[in-house]
């Protein structure tokens, strides 16, 4: 589903190479996790895949099914089925959360040549999905992420994911800033979306999120490359021994 081949990326304004040849295949229905120390390039990978500015791809490719992601604008990538749950969801004062969600859902539908969702239908769907994530009517009315706690922001990300029903979900450090209960809620939301046709790439520092979102494959990223790939036990190894051992082993 998501196919990344020898992806090389540098900062646009600086002569600094961040990704030095990333290879990764995420199959439909699978959850892949990427772990790695700070500065290893995990978040950069998620930004480059979703089309954030400030980066320059110097080599390699990234495809979602047969679509060349790197050729597309961010909104086209989204319409193609890619979703990034942000590590730091952006606050947008003055834009109501509902307006935002509905604009996004209908923009994607339009881009795919589908009919827009009616206001009534949208309201029904969003209420049901919000309820599962314990997002109340008040939170839906408020401006996007403004005044939301860390946990509320992350739940709001998952709500967007649930509404947009992407093929490929990337979660960038979704566990950061969450307490145990909030993490459980978010993980339940993610697990509810797991399905045959959907792939996940879960980026995290810590193993604990992976207790709740059980990965099929775990990758260790360091210095702009994936240096080790294994099963869920690899995450436990990191938890117990830190990254130093693994990095020493592959060096």
């Amino acid at each position: 589903m998501l196919s990344i081949k020898n992806l090389q990326v540098k900062l646009e304004d600086e002569d600094k190479q961040i990704l030095k040849g990333v290879n990764l295949e995420v199959e439909a229905g699978k959850v892949h996790a990427i772990m790695g120390p700070n500065g290893s390039g995990k978040s950069t990978l998620s930004y480059v895949l979703s089309g954030k500015g400030g980066y320059e791809v110097t080599g390699g490719s990234a495809h979602l099914d047969d679509i060349d992601l790197l050729d597309l604008e961010p909104e086209e990538r989204a319409a193609a089925g890619l979703f990034l749950a942000f590590q730091y969801p952006v606050e947008i004062p003055g834009v109501g959360n509902m307006t935002f969600l509905r604009t996004a859902v209908n923009a994607q539908r339009k881009a795919r040549g589908e009919d827009e969702m009616s206001a009534a239908e949208f309201l029904k769907v969003v209420r049901a999905k919000a309820k599962d994530l314990k997002i109340d009517a008040e939170m839906l009315k408020r401006p996007v992420n403004v005044g939301f706690s860390g946990g509320e922001k992350k739940r709001n990300e998952i709500l967007q994911m649930a509404m947009l029903e992407p093929k490929m979900c990337i979660l960038d450090e979704t566990d950061s800033g969450l307490d145990v209960d909030a993490m459980k809620l978010v993980a339940d939301g993610v697990n509810a979306l797991r399905s045959e046709g959907r792939g996940f790439l879960v980026i995290t520092h810590y193993q604990r999120l992976l207790d709740h979102i059980k990965p099929d494959i775990v990758h260790i990223m360091a210095d702009g490359r994936i240096v080790k790939t294994g099963g869920p036990e690899l995450a436990l190894e990191v938890e117990n021994n830190g990254y130093a051992d693994i990095l020493a082993e592959v060096a």
């Binding site: 089309g51 952006v90 834009v95 996004a104 923009a107 994607q108």
Partner: protein, 426 residues
């Protein structure tokens, strides 16, 4: 041949070009105003409050030509049940206007008010004259001296619908001077709606005397004509526990100077003045606000937002003056510009002058571009760039638009601003 060039005085030349109407009750006020004009002279570029805005096209004899915009857009406030008073190029249009009788107010036209002892003598030119210190506003004095018409509204109750002054612009060279006075008795409430470009050049004064416990609501849209010019003044004096709320939407207009001069003279009064403007290209918009706190425990808010592109210019000059003894003053002022490109500019001069020691006053002024992070966030959710930019632009304007208490009017303003953004995309 021209061996003796006589350099004529521009102030006297302008005065000579205008005719003073001769209603008896207003005569002394008009004569006083004329004397003020002669003393002050017309605004000059060197005047402190005209540094950022060129006054010459506002003070020259005759209006510069301004094309009349033809649009099939629904008239402003069309959905509101209101009493309409229509002026076309500054001339009253009886045919298009509603009957002037309305429970809770008496409405007269300035040009028709002939009584010798008119109530409006306590307002007409009086608030304008008070508003001339410490900052001279010569165009307002010109207006008082030479206004050809306007409305005089005495509010004695709470009329069940707003009064709507509609200003049509139909002549490319019209030069209109209108003067409106509102006197609100204690405990009354009224909403004034104003819309339209009015003329090729429009000089307008609105004086509002608000007695104790009364509430004045004002919502204005200055029309969409690109080439029109306008110099408007609001002068208001507030009694105890009274309220003043004014919101102005400005889309287009080659030159707009909106002065708002407010004096809080009774305790516990509230004055909110807000504006949202959007300009593309040949657009110069100047909001000049002066709020004087001269009583205890009053609140004032100034919220001004400007969206500028293609070399448009925005100006904000806002002052809060807190007099000695005006304790517990709460003054807030924010002026912000969203510059959609590198050619546009925003010039801001926020001022606080405080002589009391127990006050809370804050002011902020920013200018910036669209937030790239927010833009990417929206795009990453599938919202196309142009639509995302519009959404963020509207969200920028929202803080000013939200000053409108009435939800339907607020929504209408937002829809019209959105329509402008759609027309002026990319």
């Amino acid at each position: 041949m021209a061996d003796a060039v006589v350099k004529s005085d521009p102030t006297e030349a302008l005065i000579a070009s205008l005719a003073m109407p001769d209603a008896t009750w207003a005569k002394p006020a008009r004569e006083d105003a004329l004397a003020r004009v002669r003393t002050m002279g017309l605004p000059q570029r060197r005047d402190e409050y005209w540094k950022y805005t060129r006054p010459d096209t506002l003070t020259q004899i005759g209006a510069p030509k301004a094309a009349v915009l033809v649009t099939d857009e629904a008239p402003m406030f069309d959905a509101v049940d209101r009493l309409r008073i229509v002026f076309v190029d500054g001339v009253y249009d009886a045919e298009a206007s509603d009957d002037l009788s309305l429970e809770g107010v008496t409405i007269e036209r300035l040009a028709a008010a002939s009584s010798d002892l008119h109530w409006a003598t306590s307002v007409y030119g009086v608030l304008e004259a008070r508003g001339q210190t410490p900052v001279a506003r010569p165009l307002a004095a010109v207006n008082t001296a030479f206004a050809t018409d306007g409305v005089l509204i005495h509010v004695t109750g709470k009329p069940n619908k707003p009064i709507n002054l509609v200003y049509h612009h139909k002549s490319e060279t019209s030069d209109a001077i209108l003067h409106n006075c509102i006197k609100m008795d204690a405990g009354t409430e009224v909403t004034l709606l104003e819309n339209g470009p009015a003329a090729a050049r429009f000089n307008k004064v609105l004086e509002v005397e608000i007695a104790d416990g009364a509430a004045f609501h004002h919502i204005r849209a200055q029309g969409r004509d690109h080439e029109r010019r306008a110099a408007t003044h609001i002068f208001s004096r507030l009694g105890a526990e009274s309220e003043f709320h004014s919101f102005t939407m400005t889309v287009n207009g080659q030159l707009t100077r909106n002065d708002c001069v407010i004096e809080l003279t009774g305790d516990d009064a509230i004055a909110n003045v807000a504006g949202a403007c959007v300009g593309d290209g040949d657009f110069h918009h100047d909001d000049t606000v002066f709020i004087t706190h001269d009583a205890v425990n009053c609140r004032s808010r100034q919220v001004f937002k400007k969206v500028l592109r293609n070399g448009a210019t925005g100006v904000f000059q806002g002052k809060i003056l807190v007099k000695a003894g005006a304790q517990k003053t709460d003054g807030y002022q924010i002026s912000q510009a969203l510059l959609l490109d590198g050619d546009s500019q925003f010039l801001a001069k926020p001022e606080l002058e405080i002589y009391a020691d127990d006050v809370a006053c804050s002011h902020g002024s920013t200018s910036g571009a669209i937030d790239e992070d927010a833009l990417f966030y929206l795009r990453s959710r599938g919202v196309p760039e142009a639509e995302a930019t519009n959404l963020l632009t509207l969200s920028f304007l929202a803080e000013a638009v939200e000053e409108i208490a009435d939800e339907a009017l607020r929504e209408d303003m937002t829809v019209r601003l959105a329509a402008w953004l759609m027309r002026h995309r990319g």
